[in-house]
């Protein structure tokens, strides 16, 4: 019997040992083994293994590189050259691929830019990790819920500074709205008027020690003195033409502030420009325009303004920011803060306080911020998901089109293989081809993005830009996109192409059947059409709901009513009477002065009240409006009981609506008449004199709310003017003249009521625009997929079509043959899309108190639209196949 060396040791030796030494080493080892085996088999085996192991050393181990090296640069250059030729020859194919991918990548890029912008808010401050804002934490005893608000009691900033000396900075911040500003020249004469809806901030120099807003001229410390103002460069240029000449100039400010249910105003105050701030970046929630020293006008008033000592007093948009010293824990500070609050607050004030890092402010929709723009983390994730999804669909289309094209390239692959290409070389070539297409698509996508960004900014009210080309993250994103898309989109087709059998390929035996995965491709088309159809249906539902919002009767007259802001003076009714008389003499139909319109969105003032001498506040809040006796006739509100208000400067009577009566549990509207209602902590106590028929006092998202209307001349902020049906333009000019004469210090503005009501549904409008865009992109991409599939099938069935034609099929029959298959696919997609779309749109509509019911024709329209678009897409290939000469297709075998 012949002895054999241990198999496993031998296998190991053969695995590691260099080929050119194997003969010698293995031969010698075996020879020694055989010789020793005669004496002692076990010892021989042991020694064999030992010798093998001793040979496991660098000299004898195979080199890591398994394959010989090629002249790769020349080959790659050749790959690029042939790829270019291929693409130039198949221009349609290249164009479709590039367009499809570019659309997908552009959507991704835009989403990336938006997310990049949204997540960069206030991240440029040097102390950003230590800046916190104080939130008021309210516990609601009845519901047990906790809410956070960004406004704090007036004594908070001063109190914190005194009680917590370890805080490096404490700054009060108040954001004022709708301020009227006048530019005053050196002689004290008024030059120009401006109005700032937002951007007027009252704060102290501490604010600028926390946040990095660089100064071009002047000093932050000037804010320590009252009546100083810092302007941003842009504001200074608007006001004075040139920021350099603005220093030391004077402007006058007249603003309102609201506390509780009341709106208050302060006499115009002169401010000296003591500094110019550099341009404020777009990615901050502090969109500063004017920064007034804290303590100026009402922020310094001890009796009615922000220096009131009561811990119950606050104003919306009055906040407090602190700079924590390093190394202090937030939880620890929060505990100290709560303990402090319990100490200083009256026993009935159960509010507590927490600090929130500045990095969380932009994501806090509940508490809000000074820019009124927030974005939730959930939305960011959804956006990422959409981006990934769209990119995936675009890649899938690419795969679809390329594999459909693969059959046409069988000869090329065959020749290359015969000439010695191996699989990996072929794959590299096709990947390079993909790389070229993807690079083209990325460049095109960048172009699309640059063109689309202004519209996106307008639609979403953002200020993102592509000037961030200098921004490395966008370049990085584009490079990553090229690599990722090339790998995802190029890998599968390259594998399919490279595995062709060269003999079959050269003998033209390769048919489309060889390229597998037709059912996969059908599945993808169905998938794409599910999305497209769902989006079409969603768009239709949203548009319908929008129309419903606009057309639904609101219970009051909104036609031809224009709102003009009005600034009350101390004379009470004299000014309104004068304006009313002036306006009526110009032919307007009716005029009413009021705090706001019958329908308001976020401008409603809710108040607690006591009814009929109750000992305790009623358990619901009511919207309070202050309006004169002409409010009811101007808006054509209807009374169901009692009478309208009597003309009066101060508050003497209340009107309520039916909801108010119902919410109190009274049976008949008449029951409430002459009962007393007390608001503002008993400051105003008056009887109810009339009940109004319910009208929509909130946006149609929400149900009706209980309502109180009372006269109070100091609370009026606007005139509502019912214009005559004819001569609207000349009447508006007359109104302008009257206003400019009566309010020389203010900018004249007006707004039509129906426009204003339309603007309440801005969010829905944005949503419907977005849906339209996404639906269009989804349809475009689906059609590309469909086109790919259709061209694939046309190639696959060319012989079948030829035989059918020879046997007498008409062109119409052939077109039908092609269309039938696709209609089935779309029908499947429709069956799946309908319930999904219904479910989501139904859920969406639940957010609205007033909503449409989704009717069947919406689905029918969605299905029909997609079928028509699909048929139009495939008709090119179907008709081409139908009119082709059967001789040509059957002759070549």
């Amino acid at each position: 019997m012949k002895a054999t060396p241990p198999a496993r040791s031998l296998q190991f030796l053969r695995w590691f040992c260099r080929e050119d030494y194997l003969d010698e080493i293995e031969g010698d080892l075996v020879e020694i083994f055989l010789r020793r085996h005669e004496q002692s088999p076990a010892k021989a085996r042991r020694q064999f293994l030992w010798s093998v192991l001793k040979h496991f050393r660098p000299e004898f181990i195979k080199s890591i590189r398994l394959k010989p090296r090629y002249n790769s640069t020349a080959m790659i250059r050749n790959n690029f050259k042939t790829s270019f030729r291929k693409l130039a020859r198949n221009r349609n194919y290249a164009f479709m691929n590039i367009a499809g991918l570019a659309a997908g990548i552009a959507v991704c890029l835009i989403i990336f830019i938006i997310i990049h912008f949204q997540t960069s808010f206030d991240n440029f401050h040097a102390n950003k990790d230590r800046i916190y804002r104080v939130l008021t934490e309210s516990h609601h005893a009845e519901s047990g819920s906790v809410t956070y608000a960004k406004n704090v009691p007036f004594p908070m900033p001063g109190g914190l500074k005194a009680a917590f000396p370890q805080l490096e900075q404490v700054a009060p911040v108040y954001a004022s709205h709708n301020d009227a500003l006048q530019v005053i020249d050196d002689n004290g004469a008024q030059v120009k008027n401006f109005k700032e809806q937002n951007g007027v901030f009252y704060t102290s120099p501490s604010f600028f020690k926390m946040f990095n807003f660089p100064l071009l001229a002047g000093s932050y410390e000037s804010l320590n003195d009252l009546n100083n103002v810092l302007l941003t460069k842009e504001t200074a240029e608007t006001y004075f033409g040139d920021w350099k000449s603005a220093m030391g100039k004077t402007i006058k400010i007249a603003g309102y502030y609201s506390m509780g249910a009341g709106l208050f105003q302060f006499p115009a105050t002169a401010l000296k420009v003591s500094g110019i701030l550099a341009t404020i970046p777009a990615n901050t929630d502090f969109q500063l325009k004017l920064v007034v020293s804290y303590g100026t006008d009402f922020t310094g008033d001890k009796e009615y303004g922000f220096q009131q000592p009561g811990w119950n007093m606050s104003a919306p948009d009055f906040g407090c920011y602190v700079l924590l010293p390093p190394g202090i824990s937030v939880d620890n500070f929060n505990q100290q803060l709560s303990a402090y609050a319990r100490k200083v607050q009256p026993a009935d004030n159960k509010d507590s306080y927490r600090i929130q890092p500045i990095s969380a402010v932009h994501y806090d929709a509940a508490a809000g911020n000074y820019s009124n723009k927030t974005i939730s983390h959930a939305l960011i994730n959804v956006l990422w998901l959409i981006a990934a999804f769209i990119l995936l669909i675009a890649c899938v289309n690419f795969i679809n089109l390329s594999t459909a094209q693969a059959v046409n390239r069988a000869k090329e692959v065959g020749v290359r293989k015969v000439l010695g290409s191996n699989k990996s070389q072929l794959q590299i070539q096709f990947i390079i081809e993909t790389l070229l297409i993807v690079t083209g698509a990325v460049i095109l996508a960048a172009g699309i993005t640059i063109l689309a960004l202004p519209s996106v900014n307008k639609l979403l009210e953002l200020s993102v830009s592509f000037s961030t080309l200098s921004d490395p993250s966008i370049i990085l994103f584009l490079l990553t996109a090229i690599v990722v898309v090339t790998v995802i989109a190029g890998f599968y087709p390259s594998v399919v192409l490279a595995r062709f059998n060269p003999v079959n390929a050269l003998k033209s035996k390769l048919t489309a059947n060889t390229v597998k995965g037709i059912s996969l491709r059908r599945g993808l088309v169905v998938f794409q059409f599910i999305i497209a159809q769902a989006l079409i249906i969603g768009t239709l539902v949203i548009v319908q709901q929008m129309n419903y919002f606009m057309d639904r009767p609101l219970g009051f007259d909104k036609e031809a009513i224009v709102n003009v802001p009005y600034r009350p003076d101390s004379t009470g009714g004299t000014l309104t009477d004068y304006l009313k008389q002036q306006l009526l003499s110009k032919g307007v139909q009716a005029v009413s002065f009021s705090s706001n319109n019958p329908l308001e969105d976020d401008n409603n003032m809710f108040t607690t009240f006591r009814f009929d001498h109750a000992i305790k506040d009623a358990d619901f809040q009511a919207i309070t409006k202050f309006a004169d006796n002409d409010y009811v006739p101007t808006y054509k509100l209807q009374l169901v009981a009692g009478r309208n208000l009597r003309p009066s400067g101060p508050t003497t009577e209340f009107l309520v609506n039916e909801s108010f009566v119902k919410s109190l549990g009274l049976k008949k509207p008449e029951d409430i008449l002459n009962k007393e209602v007390s608001i503002m902590g008993g400051l105003i106590k008056c009887p109810v004199v009339g009940v109004l028929k319910d009208f929509n006092d909130r946006s149609l998202r929400q149900d009706l709310a209980p309502l109180l209307i009372a006269t109070n001349a100091t609370m009026y902020r606007q005139a509502s003017i019912k214009l005559p049906t004819a001569n609207i333009v000349s009447t508006m000019q007359a109104v302008k003249k009257i206003w400019e004469k009566a309010f020389p210090n203010n900018v004249y503005e007006y707004r039509f009521l129906d426009d204003k009501i339309g603007s309440f549904y801005k969010q829905e409008n944005q949503l419907s625009q977005l849906y339209k865009i996404f639906a269009a992109i989804a349809i475009f991409l689906s059609c590309l997929g469909l086109y790919g599939l259709a061209s694939f099938m046309a190639v696959q069935r060319i012989k079948e079509v030829g035989i059918r034609k020879v046997l007498g099929a008409s062109s119409a029959n052939i077109v039908y043959l092609f269309s039938k298959e696709f209609i089935i696919l779309i029908a499947i997609a429709f069956v799946i899309a309908t319930p999904i779309a219904w479910y989501y749109m139904h859920q969406w509509l639940q957010d609205y108190a007033y909503r449409i019911t989704i009717s069947w024709w919406v689905f029918a329209a969605g299905g029909l639209t997609s079928i028509i678009i699909a048929l139009a897409t495939i008709s090119f290939h179907a008709i081409k196949a139908a009119i082709a000469n059967p001789v040509k297709s059957l002759r070549t075998e």
Partner: protein, 109 residues
């Protein structure tokens, strides 16, 4: 880079290659060394020395025919090159010179 250095074990292997002449391959070298030096030597050490000296150009190799008793593997025969011979000569010369320098005195015989 030409390396003319030679280690002690390499020198022994080189001597054996020269001595065995046309019959020098791994196993024969190892067996003869074991016999002459009466010391256990692993074949891998011989292989390493042979490879290094071949790289240095002291020896050259050729493959023999396929034989049954080696699991079908060929023998690799080594012969000394002129360079290898010169190295051996110079080594020998150096040693002889040094040896002759030993004073002719008795070592306690």
């Amino acid at each position: 880079m030409i390396n003319h250095s030679i280690g002690e074990f390499e020198e022994l292997v080189l001597l054996m290659v020269a001595a065995l002449h046309d019959e020098a391959y791994g196993v024969s070298i190892q067996e003869n060394l074991v016999e002459k030096l009466s010391k256990n030597i692993n074949i891998s050490a011989v292989h390493v020395a042979l490879k290094r000296m071949e790289d240095k150009g002291f020896i050259k190799s050729r493959f023999g025919g396929i034989t049954e008793d080696r699991g079908g593997r060929r023998k690799k025969y080594y012969v000394i090159t002129a360079l290898g011979k010169r190295i051996l000569d110079s080594q020998y010369e150096v040693r002889t010179k040094l040896y002759n320098m030993i004073p002719k005195i008795s070592f306690g015989r």
